[in-house]
């Protein structure tokens, strides 16, 4: 184990991790630039790196960008990433009282605690899941892929799960293009050789999360008020100690939420914020929504713990925990790293390397965050009309660099256009990415299992108890989604209704 972790301390890999963390923090801090966008675009940059450097860099970006959203949320009242909305509510209220620096300091400390809790739970739980997952065969893998897409759809579009499922299904259709894996029959290529290799999911990812965001946000004219001073950043130790139990509770919650496919940092921070208030002491509860440090700690811990959680299904099952983890999966695939139940057999020691890289990225995030607050405040003053166009060539290079194909750049452009239309028609985009990534897994495993089941009775199929349980879970997700949509339609959905927090 030690020999796989030691290389992480080489100057080159430390530099790559730090570069990823710094880029991630700055990216996450800039309004309109999300974690998934950062991960998707920077896959292109990681394409030219070695496998180890690429993993360190991408995990650094992931860790940094999830925290980065807090900077703009606290200082300019705009959440850099969607999960920073609860942080924005509390942090900006504190900033208006002249405690913006201290609020950011608490957010940094909470993010570090969250990241650490997530990594510890990842290390603890992954052996259990891997042992269990080794029993999974084609039938079980097919249902797992379906669950990944369905749950992602369900979580993405709260009141209208149908739209989330449709988005996931559209992603699957995209993935069916190209030579299929069993008989090598070209599917939906319409005679175009460029489509024989399939549609690059990296290009789709960059288009949906990068270009579409530019199409959406560049035309709007938002004016940002930049604070003159940030104030004291490092919070007193007494305050840190006071909120430790809330931080650990929210960290555990964030990790488990992260392990659910499709449930990302957004769900984690909102839920931890909600539960935090229910469990807070009356005097602290009274501050909720008006500038509570505990509320800020709950939200920030949960969204960073989510990183470790999202790595659980990604590494153990090959099912991405969220869209950002899907981007990480894409980066790993580019390096011929196949994650899933056999990760320890296919890539011995890699899992320890990833644990170590995550831990180092988390420590670097803690240190770099303090140093980067000042430069980020300067960046906020950059007009959107200058900032957003600069991302366009990065999108183009990112899509091109995977296969050095201009065709993929056009795919990225098409995906960007589709992403823009998705936003217009109020469809979520994250399930599309999960659909694109999981459809080949579902397709190959469905046909393999049907081939195995050809001469078997229904009783035999039902006796595959893990598969049967997963199938029942699929039914449960569908029924729950339908009920939620019906309640929302009648205006009685508890999620759609306002929660008194």
């Amino acid at each position: 184990m030690l020999e796989t972790i030691l290389p992480l301390f080489s100057p080159w890999l430390l530099t790559m991790t730090l570069s990823g963390v710094c880029l991630g923090i700055i990216w996450g801090a800039l309004p309109g630039l999300s974690t998934t966008m950062a991960m998707g675009l920077l896959i292109g940059l990681s394409a030219g790196m070695s496998q180890d450097a690429s993993i360190c860099f991408m995990l650094g970006v992931y860790t940094g960008s999830v925290f980065g959203g807090a900077i703009s949320a606290v200082l300019i009242n705009i959440p850099g990433t969607p999960d920073a909305v609860p942080t924005m509510i509390e942090g900006h209220q504190l900033a208006q009282k002249g405690e913006g620096g201290q609020a950011l300091g608490m957010a940094i400390a909470a993010s570090f605690v969250g990241g650490t809790v997530g990594i510890i739970l990842l290390i603890t739980l992954i052996p259990v899941i891997l042992t269990f997952a080794l029993n999974f065969r084609s039938w079980e893998m097919f249902w797992l892929a379906v669950i990944g897409i369905l749950v992602s759809g369900s979580m993405a579009a709260g009141t209208m799960p149908l739209k989330g499922w449709i988005a996931g299904w559209l992603g699957m259709l995209v993935a069916f293009v190209g030579l299929e894996s069993i008989h090598a029959v070209p599917r939906f290529t319409f005679g175009s050789f460029a489509l024989f290799d399939g549609i690059s999911y990296v290009a789709v990812l960059i288009g949906l999360f990068g270009l579409a965001e530019i199409f959406r946000t560049l035309p709007s004219k938002d004016v940002v008020a930049i604070p003159d001073t940030v104030g004291r950043i490092i919070p007193p130790f007494r305050m840190l100690a006071k909120f430790t139990p809330s931080a650990i509770r929210s960290g555990v919650l964030g990790t488990f939420i992260g392990a659910i496919p499709g449930a990302g940092a957004n769900v984690a921070s909102f839920l931890a914020y909600d539960i935090g208030k229910r469990r807070a002491k009356p005097e602290e509860k009274a501050k909720w929504g008006k500038g509570s440090y505990e509320a800020l700690v709950c939200a920030e811990t949960a969204n960073n713990a989510n990183i470790g959680g999202s790595m659980l299904p990604t590494l153990a099952l090959g099912i991405p925990g969220n869209a950002a983890a899907a981007a990480l999966l894409a980066a790993l695939t580019l390096k011929n790293v196949s994650v899933g139940p056999t990760i320890e057999i296919d890539h011995p020691g890699l899992i320890y390397f990833i644990y170590g890289a995550l831990f180092i990225a988390n420590v670097m995030m803690y240190l770099a965050a303090f140093a980067l607050i000042g430069p980020c405040v300067k960046l906020f003053s950059l007009p959107r009309g200058i900032l957003m166009p600069l991302i366009i060539p990065v999108c183009v290079i990112g899509a091109y660099s995977v296969k050095l194909s201009i065709f993929d750049v056009w795919i990225m452009f098409g995906a960007g256009l589709a992403g823009w239309l998705f936003a217009l028609f109020k469809f979520p985009v994250a399930p599309v990415v999960l659909g694109v990534i999981l459809a080949p897994l579902a397709d190959e495993n469905l046909r393999r299992s049907l081939f195995v089941f050809e001469d078997k009775s229904w009783g035999f199929i039902a006796s595959q108890w893990i598969g049967t349980c997963l199938m029942l879970f699929v039914l449960l997700v569908v029924v729950e989604g339908i009920l939620r949509a019906m309640r929302a339609d009648r205006g009685t959905d508890p999620e759609a209704m306002e929660k008194g927090v």
């Binding site: 929504g289 091109y400 050809e454 306002e498």
Partner: protein, 187 residues
């Protein structure tokens, strides 16, 4: 989510997703139904080299069939909401000028990519002893960036030009020299 009055509304992982105006949902239904039927037909036309259980068109067929079903549900939900009094078209505070600007940026990016494809060239030269490559990426990106920044920012032209040239050369050097990644616009 609202601040101040201590109320929180969680609308799913993607806050933008949800009910659109009935007209938009009906347009989406029409498109999705057409797509489903196309995929259904195309998957039935695929060859079946082994048995039906390993047919290449099996999952695409099932996916398209269920997509058609979900599209119908989406359409029915839109009709029901329209009957309940939801306005067919809801502008939801949309600014028409923003839509025009969105179309402008889409067209500009399309022209930029087309420029990289159609004007591709590659020229090798040395700066001192360092070999360099100039391709269509640099001139096309500088022009495209300058144009887009000028349209959406309207600041002094010299800043626009400086940012476009500086950023393009930085990207070119970082990707080609540090990460050894060839850039589009060459061969």
């Amino acid at each position: 989510m609202q601040a101040g009055d201590e109320k929180v509304v969680f609308e799913g992982e993607d806050g933008n997703a949800g009910f659109a105006s009935p007209a938009l949902d009906l347009i989406a239904t029409g498109f999705l139904l057409a797509l489903s039927v196309t995929v259904l037909v195309a998957s039935l036309r695929l060859p079946v080299p082994g048995g039906i259980s390993t047919a290449p068109g099996l999952l695409p067929f099932l996916t398209a069939l269920s997509l058609a079903g979900m599209s119908v549900l989406l359409g029915l939900s839109a009709i029901a909401r329209a009957r309940e009094g939801t306005p067919m078209w809801d502008a939801e505070g949309r600014d028409g000028r923003d839509d025009v600007r969105s179309v402008i940026i889409v067209v500009a990016v399309g022209i930029y990519i087309a420029g990289l494809q159609w004007l591709a060239f590659q020229y090798y030269f040395n700066i001192g002893s360092i070999p360099m490559i100039l391709s269509a990426f640099e001139p096309v990106t500088i022009i495209a960036l300058a144009a887009i920044i000028h349209i959406f920012w309207r600041g002094p032209l010299w800043i626009t030009a400086l940012v476009s040239v500086g950023w393009t050369l930085t990207l070119s050097l970082v990707f080609q020299k540090i990460f050894n990644i060839p850039l589009p616009g060459g061969f």
